[in-house]
Symmetry: C2
Subunit: 133 residues, 2 copies
DNA sequence: TTCAATATCAGTAATTGTTACTAATATTAT
DNA sequence: ATAATATTAGTAACAATTACTGATATTGAA
């Protein structure tokens, strides 16, 4: 039987969780690191990465790989969709009902089993739309 | 006026195009490199990367960033969807009609403009389903 | 309340995927 | 052919992430 590693409390991990709590801007590890450092000047970037992937395993955060080269992190683990602005690159939440029925559509002519999907929407965000005027 | 860089023929680029032609397995740059080297032992990985991004600019290939850490390349530039197997990590095509209407759904309660999307489906591929038995 | 076991840390080095640089080579229009 | 220049191989640089190490913090039990 695999010896389950017990998880000990750490201030650093708590700070990361607190920092992410309620955020909607899906920061990168680097961004989180820079801000946590204001309270914990000695925290290392490795600690941020290690804890983010631990929190991901624990199901407390979601990693968003939207293809811009950096992973982004989201404390909202409920299934939802993201938008990436072609202008400014910001990653925003999309408010829409679940579209799980596309799994069934996708499974129609497919040999295997489909149980999930990720969708990224692209365009120009509200803020950048305003700038165009 | 921007001096358009004219594009000269190169055997290496042709070899890459030929190698990708008709493939359905969405290889990575590294994979392409290893195989092209059988015919062109001196080709460098940089050349593969450079040509792949050139071909992408030319609209001859599509780069797939599915979040497994490696970019994959697809000679099929028609809009279509991909599946990623949770077991073996293979990236497969999904045969399904366009679901562009989800853009409209997504734009409903969204401030900005939405003009495209990417969707990745997850599950267990046919081959891995068989292995489970 | 010690104390031993060990998870976590900071700091740093290593890895990995990708891009940039450079002098030599290949292609193309003339 | 030749001149202009795009492309190359090879290598170095880069950025994001992960692994390593000895020191430190947390925890359950004595």
């Amino acid at each position: 039987m695999a010896a389950e590693k017990t998880i000990k409390y750490s201030r650093q991990r708590e700070a990361i969780v607190k920092f992410l709590e309620g955020r909607k801007d899906h920061p990168t590890a680097e961004f989180i690191y820079r801000h946590i450092r204001e309270d914990y000047p000695n925290i290392s970037l490795g600690t941020v990465y290690r804890n983010l992937s631990l929190l991901e395993e624990l199901g407390q955060v979601i990693k968003i790989s939207c293809g811009d080269g950096n992973d982004h992190f989201d404390p909202n683990v409920e299934p939802h969709y993201h938008f990436i602005c072609r202008e400014c690159g910001s990653v925003l939440d999309i408010e829409m009902d679940s579209i799980d029925f596309i799994n069934t559509l996708a499974e129609k002519n497919f040999g295997g089993r489909i149980d999930g999907h990720k969708a990224y929407f692209y365009g120009v965000c509200h803020q950048c739309c305003e700038m165009e005027k």
